[in-house]
């Protein structure tokens, strides 16, 4: 496998760390490399340490990398915080205006970022573009992709701004050309593949738009706000409606109202917001109204760790409601999934007329990946079943008992199909009915939808060794590190199989039972304390489950998962 390269840029929040990283990422992708990037923001509004790490290779990537080939330290604190990430043969770029020298045994280059931007370019703010040029040259990028990302970024602001930034870019680029004997990486010549560079949140917003979402309501919350902002900028151009509501309750209530009236609707939030939405999730389930809810999970409970990642909302997503309220819970594994899983979420919501929750997390919502250019034209879009003339001939039953639990849903405006959508228990006509037999029958009707949903295909990845006696079952954003660990274990002769599911509720029982059957031990890695997914698995399957739980606000590294595999193998 061809070599990868990992670059970490670190400094004070607000001094261009993130934008340097983003521009570099795009330039690498335009050179036909696959990329995987992750950033951490400080919790502070301005200032505090920020970090952007991008990994690039001529093949698919599953994590942002454990160690860096290049560390760009914008200040002394960045060096202090991040120097341990450097590979032994790694290189550090630093600004001599911020620290006189690097104390260590690593190769280092002092690049006078501040001096070049202030004196040569005359605009202090171009420091990060000088850095971009320097990094670009150091990793062997040609000038062309770097120039094109600058033109795209500042083109709207006019030629003058573009020219200043290009000057800064070349200054950084040339400085390295003059002071560093040779680039430390060589970009492969391949021109194959068209990639999009997207964050998880952007992919979700695009997926929703492609699925036909035309009503979006939300309340700002980290790490989901990008979706609200993207929708606010773009959905009105599709004749869609975007509202920033007074709270998350109003957001979901209005989405449910909009969907009742016929629009595909979505809201996105994080843990504290979905906690507030729980009563309305039950309403959508009871009144059988399609709606999509995104939960970009963060460290919890309570305010928890807003800028850190965790998979702690699974229990709430699956069971959050009083009473028994069927819903579907999906969890994309990577950025490409974010796009397609969101389309699937709308399709399932429409098909089964219930709430569908998409669980991402800060590590997935805010990370950047290159994904294959999506072929959206060949994606099926499902719309809810509406009543036929026969359905309303002898009186329309909105909640008609059917084999799969799905009843034709009339939309206001349709003549002769009037009904009341009700959160009260109701009969087939929608009339309140609290009798024992009716509640049993209607509960069965609503839950039959999940029996059918659990047999939906296209949500499970199975890989690894077919002769394995050890398995790993994962969900959501942990896919990358699990996959790397499983590959490494098999390489080392430890036979391991893995199943990764994007549908966490209902469980894809057929695939799971077939996968689990030959296995002796099953490892369930999760970024939560109690093993919420393991609990779900244990409730349906009898196996020797080994939980691997991490609650540090950080993603797994593949090494952590590999160690667990080896531990179980050697037990």
């Amino acid at each position: 496998m061809a070599k990868d390269i990992v670059v970490r840029v670190a400094g004070e929040g607000g001094e261009g760390v993130i934008s340097t990283g983003e521009l570099l990422t795009k330039a690498l992708a335009r050179s036909s490399l696959r990329i995987f990037a992750f950033q951490t923001y400080p919790a502070e509004i301005k200032g505090g340490p920020a970090m952007f790490q991008v990994r690039a290779a001529p093949h698919e990537l599953f994590s942002h990398g454990e160690q860096a080939d290049v560390l760009v330290a914008f200040n002394a604190e960045a060096w202090e915080l991040h120097h341990t990430i450097l590979k032994p043969d790694g290189v550090v770029l630093y600004d001599p205006a911020e620290m006189p020298s690097i104390d260590g045994r690593v190769a280092s280059y002092a690049v006078p970022l501040s001096e070049i931007s202030a004196k040569q370019i005359g605009v202090k703010l171009t420091k990060n573009v000088v850095a971009l040029g320097a990094i670009g040259k150091l990793v062997g990028l040609p000038l062309e992709p770097l120039v094109s990302v600058i033109q795209d970024k500042w083109g709207r602001k006019g030629e003058g701004v573009v020219a200043k930034n290009l000057e800064a870019l070349r200054a950084g680029y040339n400085y390295i050309a003059e002071h560093v004997p040779a680039p430390i990486y060589s970009i492969p010549e391949s021109k194959e593949g068209r990639w999009l560079v997207l964050k998880g949140n952007q992919a979700i917003a695009i997926g929703a738009t492609a699925a036909g979402c035309r009503y979006y309501a939300g309340y700002p919350i980290t790490p989901a706000s990008d979706i609200l902002e993207w929708m606010a900028a773009n959905l009105p151009r599709f004749d869609g409606i975007v509202l920033q509501t007074e709270d998350e309750i109003a957001a979901l209530a209005s989405c449910i109202g909009a969907s009742f009236a016929g629009k595909k609707a979505m809201t996105a939030t994080s843990g504290p917001g979905i906690s507030l939405m729980v009563e309305l999730i039950g309403l959508a389930s009871m009144a059988e109204i399609p709606v999509v809810i995104v939960d970009a999970q963060r460290g919890g409970p309570s305010t928890g760790m807003p800028t850190k990642t965790e998979q702690g909302d699974l229990g709430l997503a699956v069971f959050g409601s009083h009473g028994d309220a069927p819903r579907i819970v999906l969890a994309p594994a990577n950025v490409e999934d974010c796009l397609f899983t969101t389309i699937q979420a709308f399709n399932l919501a429409e098909k089964y007329q219930l709430p569908v929750i998409i669980l991402t997390d800060q590590y997935l919502a805010q990370r950047t990946e290159s994904i294959p250019y999506p072929d959206l034209d060949s994606v099926e879009i499902v719309n809810r079943k509406t009543p036929t003339p026969e359905d309303i001939l002898d009186g329309y039953k909105r909640y008609k008992i059917t084999e799969d639990g799905v009843s034709p849903m009339a939309l206001p405006g349709m003549p002769d199909a009037l009904y009341v959508a009700d959160g009260l228990e109701h009969d087939e006509w929608g009339h309140p009915n609290l009798t024992p037999a009716n509640h049993r029958r209607m509960s069965q009707k609503r839950f039959r939808k999940l029996e059918f949903a659990s047999r939906e295909s296209g949500f499970v990845r199975i890989y690894g060794s077919p002769e394995a006696s050890i398995g790993v079952v994962g969900w959501g954003s942990t896919f990358g590190p699990i996959r790397e660990a499983v590959e490494e274990a098999n390489k080392r002769g430890v036979r391991v199989a893995a199943l990764h599911t994007n549908m966490v509720y209902p469980l894809p029982e057929k695939e799971l039972s077939e996968f689990l059957a030959p296995l002796k031990s099953v490892i369930v890695p999760e970024l939560n304390y109690t093993g919420q997914f393991a609990v779900l698995l244990k409730s349906r399957f009898c196996k020797d489950f080994h939980q691997l739980n991490k609650v540090e606000g950080l993603p797994f590294s593949s090494v952590e998962i590999l160690e667990k595999i080896l531990e179980v193998a050697n037990a």
Binding site: R194, T209, N234, R237, I241, G257, A258, A261, A265, G423
Partner: protein
């Protein structure tokens, strides 16, 4: 198309206590619908939880009986999703001022074209007689055995200060005026609010408790004068009924959304392929 109030009856019979003020509201609503000859399939009545929350099932219409306190955002979603629908929100004083109090200011200031009927009986009736945000100070209720120590809210004052564009008070004891106010409210393009004094004979006050206090808003009151409307509402000598405030000129939310869509489309009509290209 239904022509009489009776033809606007829903399939479910009202379950309210005998003498409940809500019967008068239901009748006034049905009379108003008949007067407007409104197509029932284009009418959506949303409701919260409480005695008044059962209203949608009693009217020939599409209905949405949602969760407690959330009738305004739900009704807003319905209206914005399909502006051709006529949307009415119905809820009680507890639903709209206590649990759902956070939505009231925002519904008013957005000016979504819906009509909100707050059926105010000064009590929690469905849960059997606890005090509500409009219960009087010192009143003894099942949850204030030593007297209510919380000052009451006045929804008319709130609506006017929250920038609602149509604010009226009706009384179940004066049904003809109520019918007329409901029709005016529904004809108003924007958010219209009617506080309906709807007596709860079982747990709160009978009709004749309110009757002597109510007083018609003087005919010379100019409803476009917001300051005068506030003064009338603050007058503690009488419980004024009628139209307090009306601003017919404020653009409703759908009009503002249309303008926003127009502005957004200057950056090009929405097209997924060109959006994808931006991320290459």
């Amino acid at each position: 198309m239904p022509k009489t109030a009776a033809e606007y009856r829903g399939e479910v019979k009202p379950i309210w206590c005998p003498g409940c003020g809500d019967f008068a509201v239901l009748a006034a609503l049905q009379r108003s619908l008949a007067a407007q000859e409104l197509d029932p399939s284009k009418l959506v009545i949303c409701s919260g939880i409480g005695c008044s929350g059962r209203t949608p099932a009693f009217v020939k219409c599409y209905g949405f009986h949602g969760v407690h306190g959330r009738v305004l955002p739900t009704a807003m979603g319905v209206k914005l999703a399909n502006p051709e629908l006529t949307v009415i929100a119905v809820g009680g004083d507890g639903d709209g001022l206590a649990i759902g109090g956070g939505h009231f200011p925002h519904a008013c200031r957005r000016n979504v074209d819906i009509t909100y009927l707050m059926l105010d009986n000064n009590i929690y009736g469905l849960t059997k007689g606890q005090f509500s945000p409009t219960s009087l100070l010192s009143e003894t209720t099942s949850s204030t055995p030593y007297g209510n120590i919380e000052a009451e809210l006045d929804p008319i004052l709130l609506a006017i200060t929250y920038n609602a564009t149509f604010v009226a008070r009706a009384f179940s004891g004066v049904p003809a005026q109520m019918t007329s106010l409901i029709t005016q409210a529904m004809q108003h393009k924007g958010f219209s609010f009617i506080q309906v004094i709807s007596p709860c004979l079982t747990f709160a006050y009978p009709y004749d408790y309110y009757s002597p206090k109510t007083k018609m808003i003087p005919e010379d009151h100019d409803p476009t004068d917001r300051m005068k409307a506030l003064q009338l509402a603050m007058d503690r000598e009488a419980l004024y009924i009628g139209l307090f405030y009306h601003n017919p000129d404020a653009p409703d939310f759908s009009a503002k959304l249309d303008a926003l869509k127009e502005k957004a489309s200057q950056r090009g009509k929405g097209d997924i392929q060109s959006i994808l290209a931006r991320f290459e």
